[in-house]
């Protein structure tokens, strides 16, 4: 039933072509963290140009899904498969996935004392270029690129020369994630609760950064707890995750409904089913 709903939505959506292979196809994904099963059979298809919001209560597996996609090694995939651009995602290392255009904006961006922001981004840009068989980007060109992107997220240039995320406020860290995303121009960007800890101004800046990157050949997965971010980044699809499964999918109106009604009315159903079975 669910697949049918999605295809219906897709057909209404001019941006995607149902006959094309999706960019990302997740089938019956099971994953454990520290031996504890968290994802218990996720099915999800994401096409180029689409923005999918993943919502759900705490502990439903949203962040786990984001990190399994990015390739966190201590998250163990126990069943299922993920095809990304037609290839088996699990054949690729974390860094290879990144070089293939996958980007994760962290829920808790990591501080790296001693490594400057600009150095990290230069390393990242050139790692991708090396992977593509291109020479390093010339220093002047890189500087031009980064100055342009810094303006998009309204960051001061001094942040470029500070150690990665060290001593940054919560909002500055999130903006820094969006900056990196803008510089790396990913094919599939996953934003893991990028809205948490943001005031309304920062939220708008982050949303503008994302919206500016929306394009027919790029997809987004926006993991969020609240409807608020989705007022600014309007999704094509909304999925509700509970107990490690997608329990409901719909369009942007689903998010508004969730905001009003909470998760209980959706989450209850599969639990009952499970007991019944």
């Amino acid at each position: 039933m669910q697949g049918l709903t999605l295809n219906l939505i897709r057909m209404q959506n001019a941006r995607s072509d149902p006959n094309m292979n999706p960019m990302l196809s997740i089938k019956n994904l099971h994953a454990s963290v520290a031996g504890k099963p968290i994802l218990k059979g996720i099915d999800l298809e994401i096409g180029a140009g689409e923005v999918h919001a993943i919502m759900g209560p705490n502990g439903s597996g949203k962040s786990t899904l984001a990190n399994v996609l990015a390739g966190r090694e201590d998250y163990e995939v126990t069943r299922g498969e993920i095809l990304y651009k037609g290839a088996n995602l699990f054949d690729w290392s974390t860094e290879q996935r990144a070089c293939e255009g996958l980007f994760l904006a962290f829920q808790y961006p990591v501080e790296i004392p001693g490594v400057s922001n600009i150095y990290l981004m230069k390393a990242a840009v050139n790692a991708r270029r090396k992977y593509q068989g291109l020479p390093d980007m010339a220093a002047v060109e890189f500087l031009k690129l980064i100055r342009e992107k810094v303006k998009v997220v309204e960051m001061k240039e001094e942040f470029l020369h500070r150690a990665v995320n060290e001593g940054f406020s919560g909002g500055e860290k999130k903006r820094n994630e969006v900056l990196q995303m803008a510089v790396l121009e990913p094919t599939l960007a996953i934003l893991d609760e990028t809205d948490s800890g943001l005031d309304i101004d920062a939220l708008k800046i982050v949303a503008d950064g994302v919206n500016g990157l929306r394009s027919p050949d790029r997809a987004f997965i926006v993991v969020t707890h609240y409807q608020r971010l989705l007022d600014y980044i309007v999704p094509d699809f909304v999925h509700v995750l509970a107990e490690g499964r997608v329990v409901k999918s719909g369009d942007k109106h689903l998010a508004q409904e969730l905001e009003k009604e909470g998760y209980r009315w959706i989450v209850k159903e599969p639990v009952v089913e499970e007991i019944g079975a």
Binding site: E95, L104, I112, A127, Q180
Partner: protein, 440 residues
């Protein structure tokens, strides 16, 4: 069978040392010899040598060697020149001054840069007054052994009110001969209100040899002295080095102790803050790989009130390397308003690497500000993951994090060419890349 002590006592008796016959110098050397005979070599039963067993050093017999030509034919030496470093440079080969390889250049008036042998022969100003005066009363066997053999090294004297623009660089190069006992003896006297950077380097072409050096440094009132000690002898080398500093009123001494080479390396650094207002900054970096053993013993004596010491020692250890950090800070009676800080941080890159760290504070005054801390850690896994999600491969991510760990110590060295060189060694030694810059 002769004991190691007897071997070295006999070796000394067979030598004719420069300047012998001068009563003060004979007395100094003889005192060293008798003290060495009495104490012998340190063992792990000595508290200050607990973690470093020198048996491998005693299993071999090392002996002083005569000067082997002027060294101009040895291609190895050129490899050890730091490009871009402009300095007043003195080069010593197997412990002997090699004028043909040195480029002392134009030395401003008021400054003497000489080989120790020439200084004692010529009775230069300050030599008799200061030689042997910065040593602790109860030195260990290695220090006494060096004193018994005082022969050559760098003698630097800066008169008062002089700023020496170029660094003074001394390079102790040991040839591949093998079996050499090389005992440089350096004395630096920096006059009141003067400023200088001394770069002391120990390099070798390979082979097994024993370097046992002693450096004495006197910073007179308000002098500013930077002392960079760069030890990168070959993988078969044994290296013991003592650095004894006396900092007088309002002087400032910066010590950069970079221990990168040798199979077994030990440095003893003792800074005496001898007068009010003296301060010192002690920066240390040790990089161990393979089966290297690197031991740093430091002692700061706050003898007078209102002195300040700031110590940061960092170590990066890979493979089966082992390191020791033993840092003593002694605040003597009456040394009120002492400000003493000490930090030792270690990064273990391999499960088989090992560090013994022992910070030690002894305080005999009641109005002081002292802090110390030691950490041992591995590369931050979260940071590794974060970088990899940005496309950076594991080796590059590890190198970047390691470099970041060491960078704050390296950045404290004022000389750019030395900083670049140490970064290069770090990259090459731990990650087989020539320059970390090449990684990104």
């Amino acid at each position: 069978m002769t004991t190691p002590v007897e071997h070295y006592v006999t070796a000394r008796q067979e030598l004719v040392l420069p300047g012998s016959g001068q009563a003060w110098l004979d007395a100094l050397r003889d005192a060293g010899a008798s003290s060495f005979r009495e104490s012998g070599f340190p063992t792990v039963r000595d508290e200050n040598w607990r973690y470093t067993n020198i048996r491998p050093i005693l299993k071999q017999t090392f002996a002083p060697v005569a000067p082997a030509g002027d060294g101009s034919g040895d291609e190895n030496i050129a490899k050890f020149t730091l490009p871009e470093l402009h300095s007043h440079r003195l080069v010593f080969i197997d412990g002997h001054y090699a004028p043909a390889l040195s480029s002392v250049g134009q030395v401003p008036e008021g400054i003497s840069v000489e080989s120790m042998a020439n200084a004692v022969l010529g009775g230069l100003e300050g030599v008799g007054q200061w030689l042997g005066k910065c040593m602790p009363e109860a030195g260990d066997g290695f220090t006494s052994l060096n004193t018994a053999f005082i022969e050559d090294g760098l003698y630097l004297h800066v008169a008062r009110d002089h700023h020496v623009e170029l660094p003074v660089e001394v390079v102790f190069f040991n040839t591949e001969a093998g079996g050499q006992l090389v005992q440089p003896r350096n004395l630096y006297v920096v006059g009141e209100n003067s400023q200088v950077h001394i770069i002391e380097r120990y390099v070798s072409a390979g082979g097994s040899h024993l370097t046992n050096s002693v450096t004495e440094l006197v910073a007179c009132g308000s002098a500013v002295v930077e002392h960079t000690r760069l030890q990168e002898e070959g993988a078969g080398a044994f290296h013991v080095g003592g650095v004894f500093v006396r900092a007088n009123g309002d002087s400032r001494v910066v010590s950069n102790n970079l221990a990168l080479g040798s199979m077994i390396a030990r440095t003893n650094l003792n800074v005496v803050l001898a007068d009010e207002g003296a301060c010192c900054e002690l920066n240390g970096l040790y990089l161990g790989s393979g089966r290297q053993h690197i031991d740093n013993f430091t002692q700061v004596d706050h003898q007078q009130p209102n002195c300040k010491s700031d110590q940061l020692y960092k170590g990066v250890l890979n493979d089966r390397a082992r390191a020791v950090f033993h840092g003593r800070v002694v605040v003597h009676e009456g040394a009120q308003h002492t400000d003493a800080r000490q930090q030792n941080r270690n990064l273990l890159l391999s499960a088989n690497a090992e560090i013994d760290t022992k910070p030690q504070l002894e305080i005999y005054a009641d109005d002081v500000k002292c802090s110390h801390g030691a950490t041992v850690g591995q590369l931050d896994e979260d940071a590794m993951y974060y970088m990899r999600t940005r496309g950076i491969d594991v080796t590059t991510a590890r190198s970047l994090l390691t470099w970041a760990f060491a960078a704050d110590v390296i950045s404290r060295v004022s000389s750019g060419p030395v900083r670049n060189h140490v970064e290069g060694v770090l990259g090459h030694k731990l990650f087989s890349v020539d320059r970390l810059e090449d990684l990104v």
